[in-house]
């Protein structure tokens, strides 16, 4: 496709989009007259909710508010189960796209990752499932956001900013805690089937029931999409048909393995046994034992296996086992002891067009003992302390051999960690609360780490809260970097990468329909380690890592939530991110182009949620637009296929429109139809034969999905 054609198609797309918006506006006006406010129907909806869901319903307050707008000493966003259903998300990735300050890149390749306030890389986000960490430590290749059925999620909590002092190392950009459903939440069954363009196929079956005290949850999940990647069609002069399978692993279809899971909660006197068995092209088994009277003993075991494709493969196995004991010594002091074992095995093989194989492998086994104590000194003062000892056996290699490489002694590292953290939460007055925190880590591989945390919350009145948040985190160097650390340019020692963040957050409820949240932030990064190309090195190490020193980013997040009418709610968020962090990260031009959406100065997100036809249909429109990066001049992207002399890239735009039936039409069967229009501006220079076309190519996509849910 010529560059000129691309440009003209862009104009057509704008016209179509305008027409869609006019249509949407008209629909909003026409159908609103049919809407009715019926208290009974609202209560009927509430009756179906669990206790947790009821406590997540946003309500109009009329009573006293002993608390301010938010108790959390952090910048936190909660997406409720109700919002999950109304917005028609199909994966966690869709959900994250709606959060302020978060941008996804590479959505249409297997190489998907999120960027949070300019911080790139999946492994910088601490991902928790029900409070338990789940981080694929490699940070790329594994698209964890597709692995979990959205139907199994009850709600999601997202904390933006580094909270290493509380959650430990690698809590760099934020924390995402996904709360999953139990049998009681499902109370019956739910079968979902999705089909869409780009061979998107998703099937989920969930069954859950609480019988007496017995809670049972079963789920089956299958997800497949080739993400519309057709190299032969898009690049006929570059990719011959017989080369279809010879991309890198990033260019291959995303095949998420079948997933089957069964959770059973068995009552036993005052105790509870939680048993989870799951198969995800591997085995996941979790056993947990809870005692009703606070002391808790739990054991968990999980394993995941990621399927290989033909020539290019990726396997990812993780194993977690933990044993914990928790006890309330008295009304003021509680302690918990935890033994945790984690095993991680990651292997990837690429076959390049040159015929070269390249293997990447990482393995890690971690043994940890952790002791926590929580002491309620007074009603206004609570102290938390934690101490951990951890030993990690780690291996990493990169090799260019046709056969699977074997580990050498030089590939191995043993690391010991000692970690101590303290946190004190003090209510100075009824209106003012502060949280002080400090974390110290000593390791055998890099210098000691000492990071602070401070949060101050001031509640002016029931509708105004100001938070001052100073937090920090650090990222341990990648195992691959550590093992071949002598290759780091200009230095032989390795330091963790630090981030110090200052965030001023102000939340205001203007009236029962309108609220705003505004944050002004500044992030200071230290020891920014970046992979850079170095042609002077022999293969397979044509690149190395460089300590780029300090970097910073700063900006503003602003979210407006408004219920503009009885059946119409909306949000508008705007983020501005500036600073030199992107410039420093852009070690080579290909990385720069792939990160283009994340590099933008301006990020707009708009969500419109509208009930029409007497509340029988729910319409959700989401628009993400990023744009206006001064460095997007054509000379910097010269040679890429979409580049036209004199033409500047305007931005990156995604529009999702989803229409879903509601229980007012049928309480058993829900049908949704989604349309996505994406213009993903990326570039590729064919002269770089070692790089994969699909990841760095300009892709403009329109896709659709049809989804049917049956609830019984």
């Amino acid at each position: 496709m010529s560059a000129q054609t691309q440009y003209s198609v862009g104009l057509t797309r704008s016209r179509i989009f305008k027409m869609i918006m006019i249509l949407v506006g008209s629909l909003l006006q026409i159908f609103s007259v049919y809407s009715q406010d019926k208290q009974q129907s609202r209560i009927d909806v509430l009756k179906k909710m669990t206790l947790e869901e009821l406590m997540n319903v946003e309500v109009v307050s009329a009573s006293d508010k002993p608390e301010g707008l938010s108790e959390a000493p952090a910048n936190i966003t909660v997406i409720s189960g109700e919002e999950l259903r109304h917005r028609g998300y199909t994966t966690l990735m869709d959900l994250l796209s709606d959060l302020p300050g978060v941008t996804w890149i590479g959505r249409y390749s297997a190489f998907t990752t999120q960027v949070i306030r300019g911080n790139f890389n999946s492994k910088r986000l601490m991902l928790l499932f029900n409070g338990i960490p789940f981080n694929p430590k490699n940070g790329f290749g594994t698209s964890w956001a597709d692995r979990f059925p959205i139907e199994g999620i009850k709600n999601v909590e997202f904390i933006i900013g580094p909270y290493g002092s509380l959650y430990g190392r690698n809590t760099y950009s934020g924390v995402l805690n996904v709360i999953t459903k139990k049998g009681e939440d499902v109370n019956g069954g739910e079968i979902t089937a999705l089909y869409g363009k780009d061979h998107q196929m998703q099937g989920t079956a969930i069954f859950g029931k609480k019988v007496g005290a017995l809670d049972i949850y079963l789920s089956f999940y299958k997800n497949y999409s080739d993400r519309g990647i057709n190299l032969v069609k898009e690049y006929p002069n570059y990719y011959a048909k017989d080369k279809r399978e010879q991309g890198s692993l990033f260019g291959n279809p995303v095949v998420v393995p079948d997933s089957v899971s069964a959770d059973v909660v068995l009552p036993w006197d005052n105790r509870e046994i939680f048993l989870k068995i799951a198969h995800s092209a591997g085995l996941e088994l979790q056993l947990q034992y809870n005692h009703a009277d606070m002391p808790k003993v739990g054991a968990g075991f999980t394993a995941l296996y990621y399927v290989p494709s033909k020539e290019c493969m990726l396997t990812d196995k993780t194993l977690n086992a933990s044993l914990s004991y928790r006890h309330n010594l008295n009304n003021k002091i509680s302690i918990s002891s935890n033994l945790i074992y984690q095993n991680f095995d990651w292997l990837a093989k690429n076959l390049y067009l040159t015929g070269t194989h390249r293997w990447y492998a990482q393995q890690a086994a971690s043994y940890m003992f952790n002791q926590k104590i929580r002491w309620r000194i007074s009603t206004a003062n609570e102290l938390f302390a934690s101490i951990s000892f951890e030993r990690v056996h780690e291996k990493a290699l990169i090799a260019s051999t046709s056969q699977k490489p074997v580990w050498a002694a030089t590939d191995k590292t043993e690391i010991d960690y000692l970690n101590i953290s303290l946190q004190d939460e003090i209510s100075l007055t009824e209106k003012m609360k502060i949280v002080l925190g400090l974390m110290y880590e000593n390791s055998s591989i890099y210098q000691d780490v000492l990071i602070p945390r401070f949060s101050g919350i001031y509640t002016f009145n029931k509708n105004n809260v100001l938070k001052l948040i100073y937090s920090s985190g650090f990222l341990t160097p990648d195992p691959e970097v550590r093992v071949i650390q002598d290759r780091i340019k200009g230095r032989t020692d390795i330091h963790p990468e630090y981030i110090y963040s200052f965030d001023v957050n102000y939340t205001r409820i203007w009236n029962k329909n309108i609220s705003t949240i505004m944050s002004v932030f500044h992030n200071q990064t230290k020891n920014l380690i970046q992979q850079v190309a170095d042609s002077t090195l022999p293969p397979p190490y044509e690149w190395t890592w460089e300590n780029k020193g300090d970097a910073r980013s700063f900006g503003v997040d602003f979210t407006l939530k408004a219920r503009l009418a009885k059946n119409f709610s909306s949000f508008l968020s705007y983020s501005y991110v500036e600073g030199n962090i992107n410039d420093l990260l852009n070690g080579n031009e290909l990385f720069m182009l792939n990160r283009l959406p994340a590099q933008a100065l301006h990020h707009f997100k708009l969500g419109l949620n509208f009930l029409f036809w007497s509340d029988k249909l729910n319409l959700y429109v989401h628009n993400l637009f990023v744009g206006d990066r001064p460095t997007w001049e054509d000379e910097e992207i010269k040679g890429f296929q979409f580049s036209t002399p004199g033409h500047k890239i305007a931005g990156y735009n995604v529009v999702d429109i989803n229409v879903r039936t509601t229980d007012r039409l049928n309480s058993k069967c829900y049908v949704s139809f989604g349309v996505r229009n994406l213009f993903d501006v990326r570039g590729f220079d064919p002269s770089h034969s070692n790089y994969d076309v699909s990841t760095y190519s300009p892709i403009r996509r329109r896709s659709w999905t049809m989804r049917i849910e049956y609830i019984f």
Binding site: E67, K462, T507, N623
Partner: protein, 188 residues
């Protein structure tokens, strides 16, 4: 950039063009609280003295003071679909302390702030679950006191008062409550 600006303005127009519609009726506070009472009661075991064995007798949910629920309680419980302890729920209103009669849940409205101590004294020793939604009610002995965290409803649990009245609280309920009061509570 120009095209995108126009598009964006168009979307904003789309949003603003609907302002003329009626003000959205959010889930109201007392609809949620009415249903929460039912949900919460599932995690509480009443003492034997409450005499809840006879399922033909109604479960009495009473409000004392200026009733903030409006029609919410009636709408929630009148159909008989929501049962507490397997009994149909009957709603009663007491306008004065002297009217307090047999009931299983007593919601103390904020209008009774000044008479709270008297009310608590009157029902002391009875197997009545005391609920409220006013500042400092929890600390003063109201067993379950709703409050707001942002725009979401939370509740305080006075463990000392609960234990004294002989209620057994499931640990799951306790785990999501903000504990106030003191003493060692009884658990199920």
């Amino acid at each position: 950039m120009v095209n995108h600006t126009k598009l964006f303005m168009l979307i904003v127009w789309t949003a603003l063009s609907s302002v003329s519609m009626n003000i959205f009726a959010q889930q109201t506070e007392y609809d949620v609280k009415a249903v929460l009472l039912w949900r919460i009661s599932r995690y509480i075991e009443w003492p034997v003295q409450a005499d809840l064995n006879d399922e033909t007798e109604p479960f009495i949910l009473a409000v004392i003071g200026k009733d903030p629920f409006g029609d919410s309680l009636k709408q929630a419980y009148s159909s008989g679909e929501l049962k507490i302890k397997n009994r149909k729920v009957e709603i009663r209103n007491f306008s004065d302390i002297t009217e307090i009669d047999k009931c299983h849940i007593l919601f103390i409205a904020s209008s009774e702030k000044k008479r709270l101590t008297q009310i608590l004294s009157k029902i002391r020793g009875k197997s009545i679950l005391i609920v409220g939604d006013s500042r400092k009610f929890g600390e003063q002995g109201v067993q379950i006191n709703f409050y707001f965290a942002g725009s979401r409803i939370r509740f305080e649990l006075n463990v000392k008062s609960v234990a004294a009245a002989g209620f057994k609280i499931d640990y799951r309920l306790r785990s999501i409550a903000r504990i106030v009061g003191g003493g060692k509570e009884s658990t199920q």
